[in-house]
């Protein structure tokens, strides 16, 4: 088959990212030709600022070296500018570095021509020594000028201008920043923050001239620029003038070819222009009225565009919320979203001039819509996540402005102190990765996403509790280029682009009954998925279609397959169930006998009020279970994403304070939920009185007996981050506890994402949502409760099942060793 021809114009960050995405999913579809006007392979443009500041070199910022193009069979023309697109004949015409004309045909054309700096229309704007700040050439010229001349003027005090000024100042020039408005960075900052920033930059030696209208650039004797003159008649000496007064989408080529442009090449949600064969990504494109000037949105565009170029046709780009961060070492400025003070918005401001801290967060309808942080930006990533997720912040509004750290250690995705951590500080405790390693990997490999960092360093790839920290390190290292994935739409894993929500919906809508069917229907990219997605898919199938879906043991983590908990030495721990934490002499005797018979090295009482036998060999498991089953004991599921325990205090049965019979209710609840699989483990507790001896405040469902009934709390967690359960409702009796609690659990089972604890589920969907389904609508509550009971009926204790083994040994075989 003849390969299709893809031609790309513009060898920059957005375009090359699109090719990378394309190569990942359809490596053989196209013959690819790339034209780049610059003589360099693709480099990380945003790091030109540290290069100018002398913190990095050009070599450090190359993203794709020439070998990469060769390895991917890409026909690369460097220093070649495309001057014309012949749409009728479907070809582009370029002039090579050596002046020859090159004509290449295309089936698909990708325009990624970026932006051109805006040059003020004033006399002298073309003098030697007058430049803009866009590429390696400009940077080199500035570095060169800094070595030879004294006076620099930067026009425009936006992000780019300030980074340029900072670099030039660090290189010893006397720099004045000239700006039209009353304060600097007025698009990102309000006046107060702008003034604080200005003071900080002045302390670093920069000068500012505000409200300045430039009239002309003056030519010196050598022919080079020598001064800048303003409309008020004043002037400043200038041997170098850097114009950083904004950028314009580079549309000249597209316009000339008659492709519809309007402040950018107009594209639809698939990044297609008005000519269906022509796509556009990056700063040159105008999507729904916006041409973005930051890389994070461009990368999202790249992903969608690649998918359509690959003829897969999945995915739409629907626009991005952006955040920015000034890359001037030692000065922290962060802004995100909309803080223009639009109608219906409210501001919360914290201003401490003494400490040099200013924070302004903008709210609209109980949601965060914008944030400006100066001086203390460590919560930037957290605010940005709240903003992107459109999370309702009503409940945390009173302390929102103090940041996430202030909310205490409560599981808000682990944000804290990335920027101030020393390089040697350990970030990922599971894999022993320290901050320095992560920063180095980000810089060396040009990483932009959490997924990338996980792949290169392993940080945050195990328990995930350091994810927030890693995200912060990313944000502080690559600045605004970092785009956190929207929590609700993160892809399940590298095997698919679909999110947990998408997958759950598809399984429900299309009645997918097995892992393999689901993968096939949703076009999984890998033959059998991976250890991340398979357990998730298996859970989604069996929880959505109880008694119908096929439970695939090979898609379960070993603990659930072996019905015991694997330990670090490869032995297992076995925990028989003790309903509500109650036991009998007979059970205790059976446990003691088993411990001796199978030479169990460690016997321990667990936090969930039962007994753990640790260090059992896998081969011994079936026989041990058989012994327990004979003694009438069942699996404690201490190993599963399932019901763990219902902890109880002694309650009114014995306790003089007890108001309710907590042991009784605990046993009933545990029996009701026996054998329940869930997105993550589920723990309950029942306390007989508000003294709360069963620790109901840190359980997924906590029940506290009061004189008139019970109080129900949900979403607590005593794990990595302690999360206090939230009050849910008050009910009258045992039956209601089971109904309300069961309905909540069922809702979580239906809507929770795999490995999402109830506290995170609650945080994601909000208490209101749960109340709507469980409290406000009695019919829905009953329905949920019944669905739960239906799913759990006829559940067979897995230990007994293996001991009786009706399958002719297949269940047992897992445990037998073949000796040769």
């Amino acid at each position: 088959m003849r390969k299709l021809k893809l031609v790309m114009v513009g060898n920059g960050m957005a375009g090359v990212r699109t090719l990378e995405e394309l190569q990942k999913i359809a490596p053989d579809l196209y013959d690819i030709t790339v034209f780049g006007a610059e003589p360099h392979p693709n480099y990380n443009r945003i790091l030109l600022s540290p290069v100018l500041a002398g913190e990095m070199t050009i070599q450090d910022i190359i993203l794709n070296d020439l070998q990469w193009y060769a390895d991917n069979d890409i026909n690369l023309h460097l220093g070649a500018r495309v001057g014309e697109i012949d749409r009728r004949n479907r070809s582009v015409i370029a002039t090579s570095a050596s002046g020859e004309t090159i004509t290449v045909d295309y089936d698909r054309l990708l325009l990624a021509t970026g932006s051109t700096p805006f040059v003020l229309p004033i006399p002298g704007n073309d003098l030697p020594g007058v430049i803009s700040y866009r590429d390696i050439k400009d940077t080199d010229e500035m570095i060169d000028a800094a070595a030879r001349y004294k006076h620099a003027v930067v026009i425009g005090a936006g992000l780019l201008g300030l980074e340029a000024a900072n670099g030039l100042a660090l290189r010893g020039m006397d720099v004045t920043v000239v700006h039209l408005s009353d304060w600097i960075m007025e698009r990102q900052l309000d006046r107060t923050a702008g003034k604080m920033l200005q003071a900080a930059l002045e302390a670093k030696g920069m000068k500012f001239k505000l409200n300045a209208h430039t009239a002309e650039l003056v030519k010196g004797e050598s022919g080079r620029v020598c001064a800048i003159r303003f409309k008020d008649g004043s002037s400043l000496p200038a041997d170098l003038v850097c114009m950083a007064a904004g950028i314009r989408p580079n549309v000249a080529l597209a316009e000339q070819a008659g492709i519809h442009c309007n402040r950018g090449i107009v594209v639809n949600d698939t990044l297609q222009t008005y000519d269906p064969r022509v796509y556009a990504v990056g700063e040159c494109a105008n999507h729904r009225g916006t041409a973005y000037g930051l890389v994070a949105p461009l990368f999202e565009q790249a992903k969608v565009c690649a998918n359509h170029l690959a003829e897969m046709g999945i995915g739409r780009y629907q626009g991005s919320v952006t955040s920015t961060k000034l890359k001037v070492t030692g000065i922290d400025v962060f802004s995100a979203g909309d803080f223009s003070g639009a109608e219906g918005t409210e501001d919360i401001v914290l201003h401490d001039p003494g400490l040099g801290i200013y924070k302004r967060i903008v709210l609209k309808d109980d949601k965060l819509v914008g944030a400006v942080l100066y001086g203390d930006t460590k919560d930037g990533a957290w605010y940005f996540q709240l903003l992107k997720d459109e999370q309702n912040i009503h409940d945390i509004r009173d302390h929102l402005v103090f940041g996430n750290a202030h909310l205490g250690d409560v599981g808000h995705k682990g944000n804290s102190v990335a920027a101030t951590m020393p390089d040697s500080a350990e970030v990922c405790g599971c894999n022993g990765v320290c901050k320095g390693t992560i920063v180095k990997a980000i810089k060396e490999h040009g990483l932009f996403s959490l997924e990338d960092v996980r792949k290169h360093t392993k940080a945050s790839s195990s328990c995930g509790s350091c994810t927030g920290l890693v995200e912060q390190i990313l944000a502080s290292t690559v600045g605004g280029a970092y785009q956190p994935a929207d929590s609700n739409n993160k892809a399940v894993c590298g095997c698919t682009d679909l999110s947990h929500g998408d997958v759950r919906k598809a399984i429900r809508d299309h009645k997918l009954l097995s892992v393999a069917d689901t993968q096939q229907y949703l076009r999984w990219k890998t033959p059998n998925g991976c250890a991340t997605c398979r357990p998730a898919l298996n859970y989604y199938c069996i929880s959505t279609w109880p008694h119908e879906a096929i439970d695939d043991p090979q898609s379960r983590f070993i603990n659930e397959r072996a019905h015991a908990n694997i330990q670090k030495d490869g032995t297992y721990s076995v925990v028989p169930r003790m309903w509500g934490g109650l036991t009998t002499p007979t059970e205790l005797r059976a446990i003691a006998d088993a411990a001796e018979k199978y030479k169990v090295p460690t016997v321990k009482v667990t936090g969930g009020q039962r007994i753990d036998l640790l260090g059992v060999q896998k081969e011994d498991l079936p026989a041990m279970w058989a012994d327990f089953a004979r003694a009438g004991m069942a699996s404690g599921h201490a190993y599963g994403k399932s019901l763990r325990t219902v902890k109880t205090c002694v309650g009114a049965e014995h306790c003089r304070f007890g108001t309710q019979r907590s042991m009784d209710l605990g046993v009933k609840l545990e029996k009701m939920l026996f054998g329940m699989w869930s997105p993550h483990k589920v723990k309950l507790a029942v306390s007989g009185c508000p003294r709360n001896c069963a620790e109901s405040g840190i359980k997924d469902i906590g029940v506290i007996g009061v004189d008139s009934g019970y109080e129900l709390y949900i979403g607590g967690n005593g794990g990595i981050k302690t999360e206090v359960a939230q009050f849910f409702c008050k009910v009258a009796d045992d039956e209601e506890v089971m109904e309300y609690g069961g309905a909540f659990i069922q809702l979580y089972r239906e809507e929770g994402f795999y490995l999402e604890r109830t506290c995170h589920y609650l945080e994601r969907v909000g208490m209101e949502h749960i109340k709507q389904h469980v409290l406000e609508n009695a019919e829905r509550r009953k329905e949920l409760h019944e669905k739960l009971l239906f799913a759990l009926q006829n559940y067979k204790d897995p230990w007994a099942e293996r001991f009786e083994d009706a399958s002719g040994g297949a269940l047992r075989r897992e445990f037998e060793i073949i000796k040769v």
């Binding site: 290169h456 490869g570 000796k819």
Partner: protein, 103 residues
């Protein structure tokens, strides 16, 4: 040296699963079967901290270690990046539905 030892029937190894083979000479070996009915054998000991690979999840021709999720390529026993290491592979073949291994 080059003798093939009969291990078990292919049907005794679950698809996308594994069995543990204990050899008096070589210790514990994990025998895997993937969805394309290929079989692989490697030492049942993860190069990271000795996790039992036979208990991991099998996908493609890779197994993910149950302890800390290192990924081991079963054809050659190499650990997938970014981790490094390798585990000894053993030659295996299927003949007439029986699995043989060279120990």
């Amino acid at each position: 040296m080059n003798d093939w030892t009969l291990i078990c029937a292919l049907a005794d190894v679950p698809v996308l699963g594994a069995r543990v083979v204990e050899s008096s000479l070589k210790g514990r070996i994990a025998l895997f079967r993937n969805s394309a009915d290929q079989v692989f054998a490697v030492h049942d000991k993860c190069p990271h901290k000795g996790g039992p690979l036979s208990q991991g999840i099998v996908h493609g021709s890779t197994v993910t270690c149950p302890l800390h999720s290192w990924k081991i390529q079963l054809e050659d026993g190499q650990v997938a990046a970014p981790d490094v290491g390798c585990v000894t592979p053993f030659p295996v073949k299927i003949e007439d539905g029986q699995v043989y291994m060279q120990l």
